[in-house]
């Protein structure tokens, strides 16, 4: 169940990106998951749904893009709401 610690690390990255851009909320999160990443997409989604409650990501859907024959796990793109 390391997906929870991975999502926690991702929220730190999202927080950094929000501060950099002066964002007030997140509208969408896109993550690339390689099939050899050792990460189960469904569990990652579940962990994200647990973490995002009452955060800036509360209404941001998570798009998981599967990447064949790769071990990458990358926070690829964010859509941020700025004032």
């Amino acid at each position: 169940m390391h997906e929870y610690s991975l999502v926690q690390a991702m929220f730190d990255q999202i927080g950094d990106a929000m501060r950099t851009h002066g964002a007030v909320s997140v509208r969408r999160v896109r993550v690339r998951i390689g099939t050899l990443a050792g990460v189960e997409p469904a569990l990652f989604q579940t962990a994200y749904d647990v973490f995002r409650v009452r955060t800036a990501c509360e209404s941001a859907p998570l798009d998981l893009v599967a990447v064949a024959a790769s071990d990458e796990l990358v926070l690829d793109q964010l859509e941020l709401e700025v004032p």
Binding site: Q13, R28, G38
Partner: protein, 242 residues
């Protein structure tokens, strides 16, 4: 302006992050690796299922290598100091990393563990990971080599069922071979399955009980040690030797 969905909302910006989610762990792992490199310590990340024989491997390694090399262990477990106590009894300095509910070690846990272990004078540091064939594989700890223990009692198909772990292994130690005569398990089939999932298949059949294969394991470790020394002599930036 939002161009991603075409809504044109001026308050939505698309930000390309393109950063590994484990980038924070990777930074601490690089830091650990630099420490090991600076002090010419070979660091081995020893992984495997609970009960695969990781601690027994370390005890056998202490018997075979402990007199001529300085060995140390950071032993990760959810609870208890049992493993650290066992390897201490075998003559190796050791500290526990008690993870609570965490199913793996990460680079920061190892870094904090180093603060409690006099590791700078070691020749080899073994990081005995939490018993688990899934999660530990994806966390870089700063090690030079990933070694996975797979006991013959776990069956022939584990490499196929847990491919990520074996894909990341630089060496697989097939353990408890003294039990083969009691089991309906083929060592050849285990080797065959490892060869399917390992990019560069490397494996040794060992028994910590009889000592079979332990000499080859020690020679493998010493080979890593020579690569590490060469890497230090080249005084380049720290990188895993394998």
């Amino acid at each position: 302006m939002c161009v991603a969905c075409g809504c044109g909302d001026p308050n939505i910006v698309s930000v390309d992050v393109h950063e590994r989610i484990l980038a924070g762990n990777d930074r601490v792992a690089r830091h650990n690796r630099e420490h090991f490199h600076d002090h010419n310590v070979v660091a081995v990340n020893l992984m495997g299922s609970p009960g695969a024989g990781k601690t027994a491997i370390l005890e056998a390694t202490a018997r075979a290598l402990g007199r001529k090399s300085h060995l140390g262990v950071l032993a990760g477990d959810l609870a208890t100091d049992n493993d650290a106590n066992r390897v201490r009894a075998a003559g190796i300095i050791a500290e526990s990393i008690t993870t609570g509910s965490a199913c793996h070690l990460d680079a920061d846990m190892v870094h904090k563990g180093l603060h409690r272990l006099p590791w700078r004078t070691l020749d080899y540091l073994f990081i005995e990971n939490v018993g688990n064939l899934v999660c530990p594989a994806i966390y870089d700890l700063g090690q030079d080599a990933n070694v996975v223990a797979l006991s013959v009692t776990e069956g022939e198909d584990k490499p196929l069922k847990y491919p990520t772990m074996f894909h990341k292994a630089d060496l697989v130690l097939v353990t408890k071979t003294d039990l083969l005569r009691h089991l309906d398990v083929s060592l050849d089939r285990i080797v065959e399955n490892l060869s399917i999932v390992m990019p560069r298949p490397a494996m040794l059949a060992i028994s910590a009980t009889t000592g079979a294969g332990i000499d080859q394991w020690v020679r493998w470790l010493e080979g890593i040690g020579r690569l590490r020394s060469a890497a230090c002599a080249a005084s380049g930036h720290a990188g895993a030797v394998l």
